[in-house]
Subunit: 404 residues, 2 copies
C-alpha cells in the first residue's frame, strides 16, 4: 500500500515540518510503500500530479532542510469539494487516482477548508464501503481551528510577531518627539496572532501599549482616546491591530474610509486598517505617526521559527500516519495541552467534521476590561508555543530552502 | 580626559555595534577616563543629557547585548548645525558642555547629515585653536555615503532583504495561478539595498526577476512590459522596487498617482510605489497581484543581522577612538576593500567634508542593459557583506535587548 499527502490553504513556516513528519513515518512503516506528494493540494490528485517524495528526500539532511523551509513545498490550493450528493464525479475521480497509485491513506495538511475535504471524502468512503483512510493535519497561523489547543504554524508566526514588534519598538524610541506606531497583524477573524505581541510584557517591555482584536467591536473614537491616554505615559506609543477588526455594524474598520476613495483607475482603494488608523491619528492628534503591515512575513519568516512549533508540527504529521495505521479515518489530529508550566502536550484525533468550516475565536475573558489589551492568561497560553530557536540552514550568507 | 559619543539619523542594526566599539576602545585606553553617551545625538550635548556609559555597560555580556540590539541605544536626532559664521552660539554651547565634562574627543555615529556636523564642528575648533577632536563613524542602511566602500548597517539590511525576498518567493509559489509580487525596499535615492536582493541568484533562485533602482528613470509602461515578459517564464513573478524610483521628469513614480487621490480627510494619500505598481498590474494585466513593503524591518531586524556587518561596525567604532588618540580630527572613518574574494577590508580616515551632504549612487555600469536587474559585479560587491550569522541573545523565546 502507498500513501499520499497534500498541503492546502495559506502557507506557514510549519506546514513543511508536518509534511516531513508524514514522509518519515511513512518511510519507516513496513506496511507503507511509496509516499506520494500531491502538487497543489487536492488538485494534484485530480490532475494526477503526484511525485514520489523519496526522489526528493534522500537523507536526514534533506529532511532537516524541508523542516526549515517556509511555505508549502508541494504547493497549495483553495479548492473545496462539492457535496457528493450533488456531484459524485469529483469523488470518483479522486478514488480512481488513489486506486491507480494503490493509495490507501490520504493526509491533508490544511485549515478548516481542508478539514471540510477530509470530512466529505471520508464520509463518502464510509458510506460506500471503500477502505481508504483520510486524515487531516491542522495548520494555520490564524490559530482558529476548533478542537485543538493550538495550530501548527501559529507558534512560529507568534514568535515572528513578538520579535518584530520588539524590534520596531526599539526603532520607534530613537527620537525625542512623541510618536505613534500602528502595526497591522494577520489572523482573519480571530485575534490569536495579534494577542501574541503581548508576550513582550514577559521580557519587561511596556509595548505593545494597545492591542485590538477582531473579537471586540472596534471604535475609532475609543481608539483615539486610548492613544491620547497612552501618549501621556509613553513617548512612542505602539498599537497592534488585527487586520480583521470590525466596527459594531459588522463592517471592517477601514471599510467606510476605503469606500470614500478610489485610485487613479477608479478602483476602490484597498488599504488596510493600519494605514487607515495612521491617517486617523494624523488627523485627530497630529503627531508623528506611521503604520507597518507585517504582511506575509508573518507566515513565511522561517529564519525566526519557533522550535516548539516546528517540532510539534513534525510530530503531528507523523502521528497522523500512526493513527491511520491503527485504523483511524475521517479525523483531524489535534494538540491537547496537559499543562502550561511546565508545558506538556499530547496528540489526539477528533472527527474532522467538528472542525470543518468552523472558527475558534480568541476568548473574550482573555481581553482586558478596557478592550485594548489581553490578560496574563492569554500570555500564559502563547508563551510555551514560541519557545526555542532553530537556526535555518545557511548557504552563502543566505537561507537555504528545500524546493520540489 | 573624557570622551563623548552620540548617534544620529535613521537607526540601523549596526549602530549600537559601533557604539560598543567606541566604548570598549575608550574604556581600554589609559588616556581616556569616562565615556559619555549623549542622548538624542547632538541635542544631548546641547541639553546636557549625558550618561556615563560604564553605568550601563558593566560586563562583556552587556557589550554582547548592546552589539546585538537594533536601533540607537542613545536615541537619535535629525538636527543640523547652522553655519558658524551665521550663529556661533550653538558652537559655543557645545564647547561649553564639552569643557564642563572635560570631553576632549567627540564621536558622531551617523549618516551624511551627521558628517556635516563633524565637518563644521571640527572646522570651528581648527579655526579657533580649540583642541577637541571630532570624528565621524558612518552608518546607513542606504549605503550612500561617499568615500567608504560600504556603510555599517548596510550588510545587515541587505541580509534581511535577501532572506525575506527569498521567503516571500517561497510563499508566492504555492498556488498554481500566475501571480505578481511587488516588494518595496528602502534606500532613498540610492539603489544599493534594492540591488542586494539579487544575491539570491547565487543560491540558485530565479527570483527576483525584476529589480528597479532609483538611478534609472522609471517608466510604468516599461514596467508592465517587463512583467508581462517575465510572466511568460515564471509562474510567480517577483519584482523588487526601490522606494526612490522616479520617472524621467524627476517625480517619484507614485506621485502622479497619489496626487489624484485624497483620503477621507482630504489629505493627499501617500502610498508607496509598491502599492502603486500593485494597482497598475491589476489594471493593466489583471492577474493576481500583491505588494509588500519591507518597511522599517529592513533596518531593525537584528535577529538576522550579518556577522560581517556587525563585526566591522564594532571595529570601525574602535578605530575612530584609536584615530583620535593619534591626533586625527575632522574625519570620517571609512572601509577600504582590499579584495572581494577572499574578502579583505581595511579601515582608514578621510576628511568628513568629502562625505557631508553628499550621496554615493549605485553605479550605472552595474545595472543590466534592460535596466531591470543588476550585473554579477554588483552581486560580487554585496556578497561578502552579508556573510555570517549572529544568534541574537534570547530570553523566554524572545530577543533580549540592551536598553538605556
Amino acid at each position: 500500500m502507498n500513501i499520499a499527502v497534500a498541503q492546502s490553504g495559506g502557507p506557514t513556516c510549519a506546514i513543511n515540518a508536518s509534511l516531513a513528519g508524514v514522509f518519515s513515518a511513512g518511510a519507516k512503516s513496513e506496511e507503507i510503500g511509496i509516499v506520494y506528494g500531491s502538487l497543489n493540494g487536492i488538485e494534484g490528485i485530480l490532475e494526477e500530479r503526484l511525485v514520489d517524495m523519496s526522489e526528493y528526500i534522500k537523507s536526514d539532511e534533506d529532511i532537516r532542510l524541508l523542516v526549515r523551509t517556509p511555505s508549502a513545498a508541494l504547493g497549495s490550493c483553495r479548492r473545496k469539494l462539492p457535496e457528493y450528493e450533488a456531484d459524485k464525479s469529483v469523488y470518483e475521480k479522486i478514488t480512481e487516482v488513489f486506486r491507480k497509485y494503490d493509495i490507501g491513506m490520504f493526509f491533508y495538511i490544511g485549515g478548516n477548508d481542508s478539514m471540510d475535504t477530509v470530512a466529505k471524502l471520508s464520509k463518502y468512503y464510509a458510506e460506500n464501503g471503500i477502505d481508504i483512510k483520510v486524515i487531516g493535519v491542522p495548520k494555520t497561523i490564524d490559530n482558529d481551528l476548533c478542537e485543538t489547543d493550538h495550530c501548527p504554524g501559529f507558534g512560529s508566526a507568534a514568535k515572528y510577531v513578538a520579535a518584530t514588534v520588539q524590534e520596531i519598538t526599539r526603532d520607534s524610541n530613537v527620537y525625542s518627539a512623541p510618536s505613534v506606531t500602528v502595526i497591522e497583524t494577520m489572523g482573519r477573524h480571530a485575534g490569536w496572532l495579534t494577542a501574541a505581541a503581548a508576550c513582550l510584557k514577559r521580557n519587561g517591555e511596556s509595548a505593545p501599549h494597545l492591542i485590538y482584536l477582531p473579537e471586540i467591536d472596534f471604535s475609532a473614537e475609543k481608539f483615539i482616546d486610548d492613544v491620547k491616554n497612552e501618549m501621556q505615559k509613553h513617548k512612542a506609543v505602539i498599537a497592534v491591530v488585527s487586520e480583521g477588526v470590525k466596527t459594531a455594524d459588522g463592517k471592517f474598520a477601514a471599510e467606510a474610509y476605503q469606500s470614500a476613495k478610489t485610485d487613479a483607475f477608479g478602483h476602490a482603494y484597498l488599504s488596510g486598517v493600519g494605514k487607515y488608523l495612521e491617517n486617523l491619528v494624523s488627523e485627530k492628534i497630529g503627531c508623528k505617526v506611521r503604520s507597518i503591515e507585517l504582511n506575509v512575513m508573518q507566515r513565511c519568516s522561517s529564519h525566526i521559527a519557533s522550535e516548539t512549533d516546528i517540532t510539534e508540527s513534525q510530530a503531528i504529521g507523523a502521528a497522523a500516519v500512526e493513527a491511520a495505521l491503527k485504523g483511524e479515518t475521517g479525523c483531524m489530529m489535534i494538540f491537547k495541552r496537559v499543562s502550561d508550566n511546565p508545558y506538556s502536550m499530547e496528540i489526539a484525533a477528533v472527527p474532522a467534521s467538528l472542525t470543518a468550516n468552523n472558527e475558534k475565536f480568541f476568548p473574550k475573558e482573555w481581553i482586558n476590561s478596557e478592550c485594548n489589551g489581553v490578560t496574563e492568561e492569554a500570555i500564559d497560553y502563547v508563551m510555551p508555543l514560541i519557545q526555542g530557536e532553530l537556526m535555518p540552514v545557511m548557504e552563502n550568507g543566505m537561507v537555504k530552502h528545500f524546493i520540489i
